[in-house]
Symmetry: C2
């Protein structure tokens, strides 16, 4: 381990990070469950003002970009593209204290460590709090990171909420200059890498007692609707061979999804979350069922195969019962590759920081999913008790937060050194 | 075949029966789908007045009993208990033309045949149109036949509809004397037998090209509710072994019900008609499912066994997934035995009438289910196209109606002879 990393790690103050997490958690929307801080509300703005002060104290030069993202800048020793580290501080309705917040505040603590140690990275560093990552009332998400990737287009900006306000107006109200949103776009090549620390949102790290997970990709998500059309009939007088029972066929489809996910444990997950039955009367054979299911995997070919198998199983279950089964793709979110060099730097950094480390996919989307369109990305996960997220009981211990923050710091330093060495060579 | 039966059968006028069916079908409630004639409405009363005239023309002495049932009486040659034949002429909302009506009008035609031939049965004969057999707006059914069986109790009579009218008031409004409802009770022993012709309400006779089915019992029905309690969780980040997926467990339960019914084809039927899923979102593992299923069989022990197997399968499916499964009996309707002597007389009569005949259970309840509490009962089924019932497209051809009516006539004559011979011997 390099001496400089040892010094830096000793300067990382877990207590200071924890105090920041506690302080940020006090910014809560009125008339909402605890820890709610939705994007585009007044409390969100107050929290960002507070955060901006913390960034300034850490020696960062701050600004808001045209999409409202809060950026703290620290120069590097060389004229290189940016290293960017961050996440978001908005929450869903009924949220916890760690989702997003941990990634931003750990980055601020890293800036403090760099500032007080005088250690200069080769790359200029930006700490970022992306505007509105969570699903918002306009029906979009990842507003700030989409803007960087040039994907906050006119269609999204024109989306309106229930009262008729547009996303563009909401972003503009917060002091951002949405007319010049194109100026927030970051060119390909302007970022050396983007790194994000986030809570896992799943139980793997806690269960297997890891300190951090190095993300090896963000899964693609396919949502499929299945409409099963049979024939309603009298539950007493219609023999099984004469039935066209849509619920029995649907049940086989549900189990086929579960079976695929069980077979591919760790590589693919699938869920039937939604089922509607008609006519839904206890004495009538169901004539129609609508299901919605989703399948997630890093591997597009694996996704294709699983969906093909599920659809085949559903069609066979239908054919055996005279039930017509039609599938529709409801949405298709491609998987996001992490950058191998970023991943290995984060892994080596985490090990240098003394973390028990594993490699794992991210089963949900993040700001990193957007930034991957324009830059190499990598992510670290911290453990989250019971895998909870978007829940008031979300919990990562002070020690787990500090461990993950130190792993992030070490990973950034390793990444900075390696990328800088490559540009020299 | 006895000469008298041959003579009687030749007198049975299928065209006259068909004309009556067509005429009765013209009595339709306003503001309801075609062929609707619900009990306790003005059109129902008009139809019963018309029917009473038909009974009188057929030589029957008519009266209404205290529960409103319309009864036509023809004396026998001996002082014996009554032979009763009939059904009902009320319908469900959105009904067809044959359910109930065929049984009453075939009995009227039989009275006409007996009257014009001068043939006297040994037993006095009653043709009956039971009041309100179908489920009514008060939440009960089989009003007239329950009254005969002494089962139209104060609790049922006090049931009220949405406007606060009681069943007692509705029955009374139709000119019946509900204060003296106990006078409509028939003593055990006062009926030699009750026989009812009805459409099958299932597809077996049509499919297998039988003219009539002789019913060998009315199945018992158990309705069971199942509540499956797991845990909602994130569809992306919760691995299969960590899930408590209530819908996956429920799907196994649905298939277990289907499996039991398939295994026991002809002896038992089972249906899951109702399923509710919570939270029912495409990206959340379902935490709770409520199912309602029913199982029907003639054989109570078979019912017990099937339900026990289904519940075991459901509990195992739950245990494998950390899902708690609780069953509640929603309702329990015991099966009804038909009388072996009535069944064999109907069978022999149907064969004498030249009908292609089979034996089958009734998978639904009828007025006969009530009368079985006080008298030996038997039923005949006529084919119904596509097994439809409670449907505007309910259809039995004129020839099928006439064949079934002739089988009923021959069966009654055989039954009269055999029962009379037994009382002489």
């Amino acid at each position: 381990m390099s001496d400089s990393i040892v010094d830096l790690l000793s300067g990382f103050d877990g207590g200071r990070l924890w105090a920041d997490l506690e302080q940020l958690a006090t910014f809560q929307d009125a008339d909402a469950p605890p820890f709610t801080r939705r994007a585009f509300g007044p409390v969100y703005e107050q929290a960002r003002s507070w955060l901006r002060e913390r960034m300034e104290e850490a020696g960062l030069a701050t600004r808001r970009d045209a999409a409202g993202s809060l950026i703290g800048h620290r120069p590097g020793t060389r004229d290189l593209p940016l290293l960017v580290v961050g996440s978001h501080i908005d929450t869903v309705h009924g949220a916890g204290r760690f989702d997003g917040a941990l990634g931003v505040l750990a980055a601020v603590e890293i800036a403090r460590v760099l500032g007080s140690s005088g250690h200069r990275l080769s790359h200029p560093l930006e700490v970022v709090d992306f505007t509105g990552e969570e699903p918002n009332r306009f029906g979009s998400s990842c507003v700030g990171s989409r803007a960087w990737a040039g994907r906050l287009d006119a269609r999204l900006l024109a989306l309106t909420d229930e009262r008729g306000e547009s996303l563009a107006q909401a972003v503009g109200r917060a002091g951002a200059d949405i007319e010049r949103v194109s100026e927030s776009v970051r060119d390909v090549g302007s970022l050396a890498a983007y790194v994000e620390l986030h809570i896992e949102q799943g139980p793997v790290l806690e269960t297997d007692e890891f300190d951090v997970g190095v993300v090896n990709g963000i899964v693609g998500i396919r949502r499929i609707g299945a409409r099963l059309s049979g024939q309603p009939s009298h539950a007493g007088t219609t023999p099984i061979p004469r039935r066209r029972d849509a619920l029995a066929a649907a049940s086989e489809l549900v189990l086929a999804v579960e079976h695929e996910a069980r077979q591919a444990e760790g590589e693919l997950i699938g869920t039937v979350g939604r089922a509607l039955v008609e006519p839904n009367a206890p004495n009538v054979v169901p004539g129609f069922v609508e299901l919605a299911f989703e399948v997630r995997s890093l591997d597009e070919a694996r996704l294709d195969l699983a969906i093909q198998r599920i659809e085949t199983a559903g069609k066979e279950a239908g054919a055996a019962r005279g039930v017509d089964v039609v599938f529709d793709v409801l949405s298709e979110l491609p998987g996001v590759a992490t950058d191998p060099r970023v991943v290995s730097a984060l892994e080596d950094g985490a090990i240098e920081a003394g973390s028990r480390t594993t490699t794992m996919p991210s089963w949900g989307g993040h700001d990193a999913s957007q930034i991957a369109h324009i830059a190499p990305v990598g992510m670290l996960f911290a453990p989250s008790r019971d895998g909870l997220s978007h829940h008031r009981d979300e919990w990562t211990t002070p020690e787990q937060c500090a461990n993950a923050g130190r792993a992030l710091l070490a990973g950034l330093v390793v990444l900075d050194e390696r990328l800088a060495a490559d540009t020299t060579a």
